[in-house]
Symmetry: C2
């Protein structure tokens, strides 16, 4: 059997993972980008203060409100949202560069940002949206409490936001109940593998089939 | 970590594999149903004569033209097509029973049958269509020639039909170039895994999220 696999050009996709805080989205995102060399994390711009250990340009682009407003007015953001008074947004150019080279980009954004991508005629064809649910409310609260650096008021605020965030699961294409991280990561890997061979992503397919038919 | 995975009710899906003869569809179909216990093969009714080794009710339901026309007029077929003068069709009831029980059904049908499923308002939400392409025309012809039981005229007829069949690849959701059977089977497995967790298939999800939000 011929082992020279056929590869033709492909357009990258935007893999969006959303979930209430504590449902495991960040752990799943890190596992995905470390295992899949063709998947890179989108780096958001934010006005929220830098936390200990965070690196500017790696975790976020830390900008002030004036700079953020400028990025909005220049149309440089693919989506943006206000979360607890802080602005978060996705710079457009690095994402478009990656997609056109056939690289996939992972987005760790909330329902507000996802809605903007889904409503954007250009972006929505590249969008693969996945919502991650916690297995139970008790498990979610335990996970939020285990985060030592957040004070009690933030935990309560996040639990309230979690309930609100969960009301948006229907707006996503895929839903994963994260009962076990490894199982969930493998589910996201399967979604990614399937979406990569969906017809709209395989941009080189048309030429390949034309050649197949011509040589017959 | 909680290992009692959450399972809620799910609607089955119709996995359609189409390809020109010789592209490996039958081999892939057999591998899929032998590996995946929740996937069963849809058994078609046909007016074509039984071949040596075939079993009625396992490979096909072998019926005469009168009986087939009766099934059409009674609305008992989900789709049907005329291929080289023989009629092929899918009895509706066993498929609907399986889907409502959350079982997935694999269809080995051509573009004519797939178009009918895609045009049927009830059926199309359950449809996951995959088109399998040969890696090259030479490889396709080799595979067709290797089938000892088909006379030369049938091989030529099939090569002509293959060219025609391939023109319909764009009507499918996923496209696989079958360069290696094992790789192709794993691709179909990933499509199946992803589609099973798509939001429209997880019919028990709504109740699960309502309970999550209620207990918060």
């Amino acid at each position: 059997m011929n082992k020279n696999f056929i590869h033709f050009s492909r357009r990258g996709l935007m893999l969006v993972l959303s979930s209430p805080s504590g449902a495991g989205k960040t752990t799943i995102s890190r596992a995905m980008t470390s295992r899949d060399l063709n998947l890179t994390m989108s780096i958001s711009a934010t006005t929220r203060p830098m936390r200990p250990g965070e690196i500017d340009g790696k975790d976020y682009y830390f900008v002030d409100k004036k700079k953020f407003q400028l990025m909005i007015s220049r149309g440089e953001l693919l989506e943006y949202a206000n979360v607890f008074g802080n602005l978060y947004g996705t710079p457009k150019k690095p994402v478009e560069d990656a997609l056109s080279k056939g690289q996939d980009v992972l987005f760790d954004i909330d329902w507000q940002g996802t809605q903007q991508l889904a409503d954007n005629e250009n972006a929505k064809k590249d969008l693969v949206s996945v919502f991650i649910l916690p297995p139970s409310t008790i498990e979610l609260e335990n996970r939020l409490r285990a985060r030592a650096q957040d004070p009690d008021i933030i935990v309560r605020q996040r639990m309230a936001k979690a309930t609100d965030e969960m009301s948006h699961y229907r707006e996503y294409k895929y839903v994963i109940v994260n009962d076990d991280i490894e199982v969930s990561v493998r589910s996201v890997e399967k979604i990614l593998a399937a979406e990569r061979i969906s017809i709209e992503r395989q941009t080189g397919l048309h030429e390949f089939v034309q050649n197949l038919r011509k040589s017959n």
